[in-house]
């Protein structure tokens, strides 16, 4: 009885979870003007339209650039800070940890708004650069937390041994710490890229002419429902899934 109920619940939960995605993908093939039932036939025309849309493709490239660069910066800053705070006893290190983690508990809307007012006052125009700066602020805590949690006594001893054998601090970081933490660093970078890629509100507030993909999709939405939105949404989904599957295989193979 309990067993049957469990499987029923599982099925219902999956239905709920997959319903919007299924609808999104199915109606991206709609051979009509509206992505609502009835399905009038299968067509790839909306994909054609989306892929030949210059603004959309430019936004996609912008998003990629912002995501990769801001994540790399966040990873380097977060890793160095984690390395220092995990090793060296500095006065006020608890306070520093709190400060570095703090942006995680603040809504991105507030971070974006703060940056917007600040940039306005010092005369920085909204741009992809401004957006990237904001994305570093939200991803730095994440990179810090993941790498900090991954540093154990094991690493500490290996680093001590490297120093003992004559490595400089930079060599220790590059030849011992970073390779030993490679899985954590990869995970942190991967998550950062995902968050930056998908981030809307900061990008919305801090871009003007060159926009990122979520902002471009947002402006498509304002002109109403269209299977074109389904098509670009499905494409993004497909690419994300591909990356996730690759990451899964990559990480699994490393573990084995």
């Amino acid at each position: 009885m309990m067993r049957a109920l469990s499987w029923l619940y599982l099925a219902a939960a999956y239905l709920f979870i997959f319903l919007p995605v299924a609808v999104l993908v199915v109606f991206s093939f709609q051979d009509g003007r509206l992505p609502v039932p009835p399905l009038q036939g299968m067509s790839l025309k909306w994909y054609e339209k989306v892929l030949s849309d210059g603004d959309l493709m430019a936004a996609l490239v912008n998003s990629l650039i912002v995501a990769l660069i801001s994540s790399a910066v966040a990873l380097v800053l977060g890793f160095l800070a984690a390395h220092a705070l995990a090793r060296v006893k500095l006065p006020g290190s608890v306070l520093m940890r709190v400060l570095i983690i703090a942006p995680m508990t603040v809504s991105t809307l507030i971070i974006g708004l703060g940056l917007l007012t600040f940039f306005n006052q010092i005369g920085i125009r909204p741009s992809l650069l401004a957006t990237g700066i904001g994305h570093v602020v939200i991803n730095l805590p994440l990179c810090f937390a993941i790498t900090y949690a991954a540093m154990g006594d094991h690493q500490k001893n290996a680093e001590r041994a490297a120093r003992d054998l004559g490595a400089s601090e930079a060599q220790v970081l590059w030849l011992v710490s970073a390779p030993m933490l490679a899985p954590a660093l990869a995970a942190a970078f991967f998550l950062s890229v995902t968050f930056s890629w998908d981030e809307f509100i900061i990008a919305f507030l801090l871009t003007r002419f060159d926009v990122t993909l979520p902002v471009e999709i947002w402006s498509m939405l304002r002109s109403g429902l269209s299977p074109a939105t389904n098509a670009i949404g499905s494409l993004v989904f497909l690419v994300s899934i591909g990356v996730v599957v690759l990451a899964e295989i990559f990480i699994l193979r490393r573990r084995a």
Binding site: S6, V36, L90, M96, I110, L115, L116, D198, G233, F237
Partner: protein, 284 residues
Amino acid sequence: MSPAARERRQGWGLVAPALIWLLAFFLIPFAVMLALSFAHMEERTVVHGFDPGNYVRIFTDWTMFKALVNSIEITLVVSVVSVILAYPLAAIIAFRVPKRWQRLALLLAVLPFWTSYVVRSYAWLLVLGQNGVLNKALLGLGLISAPLEIAATRTATVIGFVHFFVMLLTLTIYANLIQLSPNYARAAQDLGAGRFQTFRHVILPLTLPGVVTGAFLTFVLCIGDYITPQILGGNNELTLPQLIMLQMGRGGNFPLASALSVVLMLVVTLAYLLSARWLRLDRV
């Protein structure tokens, strides 16, 4: 220089970039915003000063205060419903699904996580809209005679949010359940506890800190979100983030938007203090 002093200097050198970045692009902007929240608008220009007028307005102007109330109500409902739906799902995956399939089951349960955030809300609009899949299906089955008006209501916002947070909470609660030693449940049963008693007296209290952490995360992300209420809830009933964006966009009233943001942060802080206290009480 002593080795310890040299080590400390190197340490400072390594933390400094992160600290400077957050100081320049997080703390100072926040301070600027805080200062701005005490300014006011005269003839479309900002007049700086120490004027608590914005805050007075938020708590006395009904449309403003209503947005705050809406946000808190929606967030509370979403947090509670999400936990209630996610817990059994996480438990079924952890305890009923065979070990070798659990990773796949979990991966599937969070797969839509990887659709774009904006697109996910849009997809719910396709499901819940007047001519959407849900209405068409219910009409087709003869369960309703006229389409349900869900889109552009609070219900649609809540559904969209719950969808997202059920995925998130399933992950965190599963992680909590799976790290419990199976001997806790066995010990309880061995000592005479039934299924329900085992859950009530042992499993639930032991996973509560994780659940509260997940619920707090849900609270923070939910109350600060603009997209979901904007796409699914429409403009019939505003939430705090919608009001903030409205102040900035239409009126260009940055001081008021700043004050609203500060209030939003205070609510989050309050939620943190409440849940932190609760957690500690549980541990004593």
